[in-house]
Every structure is written in C-alpha cells, then in structure tokens.
Amino acid sequence: MSKWEMSLLRLSALLSGVLAVPQTAWAMHIMEGYLPGSACVLWGALCLPFVVGGVLAIRRTAARQPRGMLLLAMAGAFIFVISSLKIPSVTGSCSHMTGTGLAAILFGPLHATVLGLIVLLFQALLLAHGGLTTLGANTFSMAVAGPVVSWAVWQLCRKGGVNRKVSVFLAAFLGDLLTYCVTSLQLALAYPSPEGGVAASAVSFLGVFAPTQLPLAVIEGILTVLIIMGMESYAQPELREIGFIREGA
C-alpha cells in the first residue's frame, strides 16, 4: 500500500468519523491562501467599483445628510457586533452573521460595501480570520452581493406594500443567506469536484453551509428588525433625513 493510498484511507476514516457526528462547517469567510491568485484578483476587481462608489456615496451622505451619519455609524457598529459573535448552530458548529443588511436597508448597498470592508480588514489583519488574499472574494460575498440582495428585497417589499417589519426581516434574512450561497459558489469555482465539476462542488459546499447558516440568518433578520424598531422610536428626524421615512408617513 503506497503512502498516498494510506493517507486516502486515513482521510476516509476521518471523514466517516466527521460525518457520524454533526458536521463542522467553516465559519463564514474564505481563509487566507485558500483561493488561487487569479480568483483573488478577479473578485477584488469586481468589488472595486462598489468600494469606490461606496466611498463617494458616503461622502455625499456626509455632505448632504450630516445627521444621517449617526445612523451610518450605528449601521457600521452593528456589523462590528454581529460579525464578531460566533453563534452555535444546529449542525454542531459555529458560524457568524454578516450584519450588512441594516446598512443596505437604511442607505443602500454601496454604503454597506465600505462598512463591510472595514470589518473584513479588521478581522483579516488582527484576527487572521478571513484574509488579505481572499479579501476581494469575501468583500464580494458579504459586502457586495449580500447588501445588493437585501436592498433589492427591501425595495420590492416596500413597493409591494409588505408590512415594514416583515420587509426588514426578509431583506436581512435573504441577504445573509445569499452571502453564503456566493461563498459556496466562489469555493466551487476554485475547487470544482473531479466528477461533477463546479455544480456538484457548489452543491456540496452549500450542503455544509446552508444548515448551519439558516438559523443564523433568522437571528440576523430578527436583530435587524429590533434595531430598526429602536431607530423608528427614537431617531425619526435622522430617518427622515436619509429618506428612510417619507414625509407624512
């Protein structure tokens, strides 16, 4: 038996052990050095217009809606809190939420991109969580794709006349879930399975992420609703200034 076969056997034994007990999933961000260089550059490049647009959008908010900056700071702080809490999930592993939905609902996806990037940098540099090489990919999933979906869901629900709280919940919930779908897809593109290719690989990565993330997405949805309820009670003038509450509404 060659060394390679031996290690394969060991791996399969390990896997059966892992599969027998609840699976351990991987907390959220793609780790340092886990994406090929070309993918790092590609995802980074895709994020670039959002980051630049986000900085410009925040400057505009600072100039035209200075009172809204308090809410922006709160939205950023919300991401700090939410993404630092590792929550146990039914699968017996921990993961954490994104928190970018709130900023996307209040201000739009561009603001959320910048805030998310700050948190990702904090974690990549100080915590070795996520990484600098995978920063582009993680920014794309957590700070671009998630917020865009949150924002789109929020807008659709508003137009459709869905209850305010339900809309907020759905937007944050779906944005969080989509972040993990994108992460799975990014990993699948980098690691296509030998038999089924990218699609099969995406399904298996998703299979690990989804059950862990589903309850956490529900929690994120609820917490976002709570903080918006708080803002609606106490920050009416600010919400009006950023156009979250229409005049007379």
Binding site: Y34, M74, V81, G92, L126, A128, P194, S204, M229, P237
Partner: protein, 111 residues
C-alpha cells in the same frame, strides 16, 4: 409602545431559543468553526490535500497562530467597539426624545 415592547421581548426570546437549541439537539458537539474545517472540506470535495499558499500576515509576524485567548480578546474588542457606538447613539437618541418632548419634530440646531 407597549406593543413594541412585547414584540421585542418575544423576538429576543426567539433569538435566545435559536442559540440555545443547538446545545440541546447536539450535546457533546465541538462547536468548532473555521480553520481546519476549511482544509477538510476542500480535501473532501477535490479528493486531495490542499496547502494554503499564503499565511495570514499576523501569523507570519507572530511566527505562529494567534493564541485562542488572545483571539477571543480581539473578538471582544470588536464586539465592544460596536456595542459602544450603538449604545452611545441610542443613549443620545433616547435622552433627546425624553427632554425634547414638547417640540417633538423640530430638528436639533446644528452648526
């Protein structure tokens, strides 16, 4: 207002339940996350071991992994920054509403 309070309490209870239920459902589970699981998953999908090609800057600087206690310290710092800002803001907003009750909708003067 009291309707909001009730909803808040119910929602918080749901959050607590969602977090606590896993402990009951999966007793003895490790509740690990992140690091090694990543390489395992990649190996499982591609069928071959994978070596990351870049180590985190921090680990290079420290010459090893961040010790667990220090990691939790920095995670706490992250939480602390966030909670600090949010509670400061809500403190300000709540106090403003409380002391400005008479002219509820007039914006504060700001230079």
């Amino acid at each position: 207002m009291s309707k909001n309070l009730k909803l808040t309490l119910v929602l918080l209870a749901v959050v607590a339940l969602l977090i606590l239920v896993p402990f009951v459902l999966a007793p003895g589970a490790e509740f690990g996350g992140s690091d090694d699981a990543g390489s395992q998953m990649v190996e499982q999908v591609t069928g071959q071991p994978y070596e990351p090609w870049f180590t985190p800057v921090l680990e290079t600087a420290l010459g090893g992994e961040l010790p667990g206690e220090i990691e939790s310290l920095i995670f706490c710092v992250q939480t602390g920054i966030g909670v600090g800002i949010i509670s400061f803001a809500f403190g300000y907003l709540v106090a403003r509403k409380k002391y400005k009750k008479d002219d509820a909708h007039t914006p504060l003067k700001k230079d």
